[in-house]
Symmetry: none
Subunit: 200 residues, 4 copies
DNA sequence: ATCTAAGCGAGACGGTACGTCACGTCTTGGG
DNA sequence: CCCAAGACGTGACGTACCGTCTCGCTTAGAT
């Protein structure tokens, strides 16, 4: 998890205010949208959320962590797709959803966020797992299903296939050398699947 | 370019000190290595390089730009490979060089740098072009050569192929979910080339 | 009084814990000794006394008041002296007792405390009456007795005499420009009494 | 002195701004007058003087020191009196000036300041020397002159006499048990000088 | 050979945000 | 109804850097 945890079980004293928590995340999200990660300062969040700074520090250790938490909280929009009997169609639908999500300004925020973290911090790991790798994990499920249904080769290297699908996608999000659009997603998928097709 | 330029031709007055310039980049590089991008503060660089802050500002507009310049200056190690009659072998050699380069701590610094930039700033573009896209551009040369030699299909979508090669690579550098090694590079290349082979 | 009073008579509910009261004063005293008045924070006292902050606030309105109360509680050592037939000797004995008391670190604490009060607050008045003026009041009793016994002039201005005795004493405690010792006390008394002697 | 000093002689770099210095002291003085010592916060001073906080910290180590400096700066009104051939009259004039000065709100500020200091800090010493002991030192000059002119005994203990004059004065300023006025000053002086008169 | 514009180091400037501390109040569950 | 615990909003603390601005001193091309 991103937020701090209190290890002891017997919860004594006044409990943390859920209202404050929500106000903080909302303020952080709003600032993130307006001015990017550098606008998510503790001072600004505290002022906007009408909350004391220590209240924020009680739950998040610093501004970057809070910004990530806000981004993740705003990211509840699941990318998950319903699995059908046609895994290849499932995969395409999922990929298009991911592309749609990152093609917007959300993509820019993700880029800003990625390197801001302390590198290998617990916070950063959580962020990567939830925001970056969630789609990859879903993809793995679909590919495994495709092996069962016989839509792709049984000896395919799933991990490399996944990197070949989601890697180029984030490559374009991060570097921006070429646009991230539906056409790209489809062409990418076609190329990857060509190498995974069962020997007819 | 990263460094500021003085447009006027008649260079009067004392010229800028090359010694100072080198000392600044060296100090910035050293700080970058020790404490990451957040350690590259103007104050620290000025102190370490025994240089006045305005001297730094005369050449770089802010700390991020300086950090990038330092990283790029340290990055003189060309990835370029000699082109032979066997473009596919050329490509593999180039890819292995890139992997070697980014598998070290250099990769971590690149990650840190990527999102620190102002996004679309001149500085960030230069960085992306030189550090991230240089390898991709070299790859394009090789693939175009391979089309001429008939090693890959003439109707192959080069751009997507390039993203499929270099995208997964940076994906692993940035996210770190799986290791970036020689085996991965070879398997990746094999898979990509499988889809590009001419119809025999 | 320093502590708050609860006006209503019908004492309902759980009575205040005398244990807590003592623990609080003890903790405050200890902190006062260790780090001066600025160390007597509500947080520290509550933590040290294993007491909730509201419990302290129930009895003292703020940290200064508590510090003063602690200092006064520790100050139970009466300065009072037995009155004999020789008032001048009584006065000297009393003065020496006062000097002894304030020459120790207690003097420093008193100095710290004096100006910390809100000026004219009830708390500060009580402190001044008990800690600073108690000795002066005792001195007045002795001087009045001395008038009766004929040891000093009947038309002497007692108040000014008292200020001339106890004023210099606190002057040295507070400013510390010269030491506060037995010799000083005796010389002071000699000089003052010289002006109060009956016309022989 | 109260303000920090830079020991090295060759003053390099931009010199400290005298304008800023004056603005800070003026703001501090103003706040001191309005709300007492607790109103002299670094934040408020910085805001009022339109100055950055670090600029204040460059010259004064904390808020108390600044408040003292402000009080001392406002205290340029010399108490010194012209010395004449009649030292006793000089002394009375000086004492009345001191009484006038401390009978006003200035007295209250001095009280507040006295104990606020860290005790034995360099700052506090300077404050005591300039604000509290300056009058005492002037008094010493006058008394020494009086010995020369034969107005007081040659074997008088000057230090104790001084404490008997200025001690009661500050006693009343600090404790406030009795008013500090002209009548008190005259009566006090009369009593003290009675014991210092040369044996006629 | 002098003038003079520009760069040099140093460091103070007005700011912004940091992360911490203590304040005095409020809100829990337990006795 | 008091107790301990502890979260709350507030606000000042002292620090770190920011990017700009003098300082007095080179330095070297133009006069």
């Amino acid at each position: 998890m991103i937020e701090r945890v209190k290890p002891e079980k017997p919860k004594r004293g006044r409990p943390r205010s859920e209202t404050a928590r929500r106000a903080i995340l909302a303020a952080a999200s709003s600032l993130l949208e307006e001015g990017g990660i550098s606008a998510v300062t503790m001072e600004a969040v505290a002022a906007k959320a009408k909350v004391g700074k220590p209240t924020i520090y009680r739950s998040w250790p610093n501004a970057r962590a809070l910004a990530m938490a806000a981004l993740m909280a705003a990211d509840t929009s699941a990318t998950s797709v319903r699995q059908t009997d046609d895994p290849l169609a499932d995969l395409e639908r999922q990929l298009l959803k991911v592309v749609t999500k990152f093609a917007t300004k959300h993509g820019g925020q993700v880029r800003l966020m990625l390197a801001a973290a302390e590198q290998d911090s617990e916070i950063a790991k959580g962020f990567r797992n939830q925001v970056i790798l969630k789609s990859r994990m879903e993809g793995r499920e679909i590919l495994l299903h495709a092996i069962e249904t016989g839509d792709i080769r049984t000896d395919a290297d799933i991990e490399i296939a996944l990197d070949m699908i989601y890697g180029p996608l984030f490559y374009r999000v991060l570097i921006g050398h070429l646009p991230l659009d539906e056409g790209f997603a489809k062409a990418l998928l076609t190329n990857v699947l060509a190498g995974l097709a069962p020997i007819s």
